[in-house]
Assembly symmetry: C2
Homo-oligomer: 319 residues x 2
């Protein structure tokens, strides 16, 4: 029986695991809650990573797994003993005998979109960050500074612009339209739609929670709302600026990841148009399945034949 590989994509809110063989057959998948010890605490992180691994293994013999890679946010900021004292015990509990290689979550997102060792990945969802990848490692980063200082062009950024437009309409100094209507209705279900009420509702709870309003921008852009189209265009320009800041080559692949950049919407189309103009020689790909990207990186520890690795990438990540 052939060797197996295990890939993990560990985030703050979810953990995904994929078991595959080196021919590219997907043998098992696992999904659980956040596995990042920084945001979830060590105990919950360990339990969630174990659950995802356990589900992915299913009835397969753990000893057959010959290599594993885990993508995790903020890998460089984790305490030095994290692998030894947190994840090694999880591995042993799951019956795994191989080690696990920790890399940045951006690296597995990049590898989910391209088998190249070098390139750029932009991850735009609630937040926004661009990473230069060199030799399968994170080499440079721009933005990802969080909801107040940065994350320009992200979901939270879109939401803030949308609320600003609603406030301008509410105080009589800006135009209305589908976006203003949907944002106002989302903030105020009944009663007066004045500026003070809108501000109060928008600022109740964590500011990052406002990103729930981002889909209202992309939806209004689809029906041609000029305010939404303007916001989406500026978001795309911000993301393009962030990507450009980490690129010093022109031909390596660019991978788009995260819910905002990978969906078909005015922001992602604007970003693709901008990338095509600025980096016409660069292939642009989607990185949708970080766990599969991690599994492929694990397979690289077992296989040195480049054409075979490229075929494996297509099989693992083409669907």
């Amino acid at each position: 029986m052939s060797e197996l590989v295990l890939g993990l994509d560990v985030g703050g809110t979810s953990t995904r695991a994929l078991l595959a063989d080196v021919e590219g057959r997907r043998l098992g998948e696992g999904r659980s809650g956040g596995g990042n010890p920084t945001s979830r605490g060590r105990k919950a992180a360990a339990d969630n990573v174990y659950d995802a691994v356990h589900q992915a293994l299913g009835s397969h013999e753990p000893k057959r797994v010959a290599a594993a890679v885990m993508g995790i946010a903020g890998v460089l900021a984790l305490p030095e003993d994290t692998q030894e004292t947190l994840f090694t015990p999880v591995w042993e509990r799951a019956g795994l005998e191989c080690g696990v290689d920790l890399v940045g979550d951006s690296v597995v997102a990049f590898s989910a979109g391209s088998p190249s060792p070098d390139g750029t990945v932009v991850i735009a969802g609630t937040g926004a960050v661009a990473i230069k990848v060199a030799d399968y490692r994170m080499a440079k980063r721009s933005d990802g500074y969080g909801w107040f200082l940065g994350d320009r062009g992200s979901g939270i950024w879109l939401a803030r612009e949308a609320v600003y437009a609603a406030l301008r309409f509410a105080d009589g100094t800006g135009a209305g339209g589908p976006l203003v209507e949907s944002v106002t209705a989302a903030l105020v279900d009944a009663g007066p739609r004045d500026v003070d009420t809108l501000i109060h509702r928008a600022m109740t709870g964590e500011p990052v929670g406002l990103s729930r309003l981002a889909p209202l921008v992309t939806a209004a852009a689809e029906v041609g709302d000029p305010i939404a189209l303007d916001i989406a265009g500026r978001a795309a320009a911000e993301l393009l600026s962030t990507v450009s800041a980490v690129r010093d080559t022109v031909e390596t692949p660019i991978v788009l990841a995260g819910s905002l950049a990978t969906a078909d919407n005015a922001v992602s189309r604007g970003l693709r148009d901008g990338l095509a103009r600025r980096f016409p020689a660069a292939p642009v790909r989607l990185g949708l399945d970080g766990a599969a990207g991690a599994a492929w990186l694990a397979a690289r520890q077992l296989i040195t034949d480049e054409p075979r690795l490229r075929r494996l990438h297509r099989r693992l990540l083409s669907d």
Copy 2:
């Protein structure tokens, strides 16, 4: 002996009072802590307003005060009985026999810069707001939406842009210079100046506290730092947009108020240049002394002769 007037400028962090006679002589001044019941609570607000009034009155006979005006933020949002249950008792305690007229703080800022009944005032300090004044009342407002949703071009906005520039330099994707150096040093007194440390320091405490960094932007712009000049230019454009949103006439005065707009710096110069281009027929004035603006508004209740009111305005507000 002539009648006296009392003007108050009541803010969230300070209260100022001015006692004057109707010839424009300044007879007494008072200064105390915040007097806004919304932000300070009713007891502290009443005590602080009393202190400022008491200082301004000095040894003058309270019964001689024939009219008083108080400018206060959010006047329309105050509970209806605020005057009756909060400020009338303060008046009685101070021995005053006249009533007090409550108006928006923006109206006294406008009247501090111009005796016109109509015009526009832009207040840019920690926050940023523009108000259309009509017949000495607030008629329309734009921005003032707070540190997260708006206040575009304000001190907090400048500070956020400055921290963003420092972060871009720290992760190797942006240029350095005097602003980046001063912002970084202000956030990290010793130790590593990496992105995570800078974000952590910038996000410690209330985000609005970041506005302490705004003077670093205007200082770096004075020495020609291109990053600071770019930020200042964009702040001026944001403020110009906010002002333009509330102006539907072209010839009424524009009053600049607040520490950012009234100082001589790259933001205020950029704003003045923009106003001169967009509203060439509008006089632009500074509104520095809200308490004096309020005192002049009080005098309007006693004097109907317009030339005399204009002379009084010059005397009260020319220094």
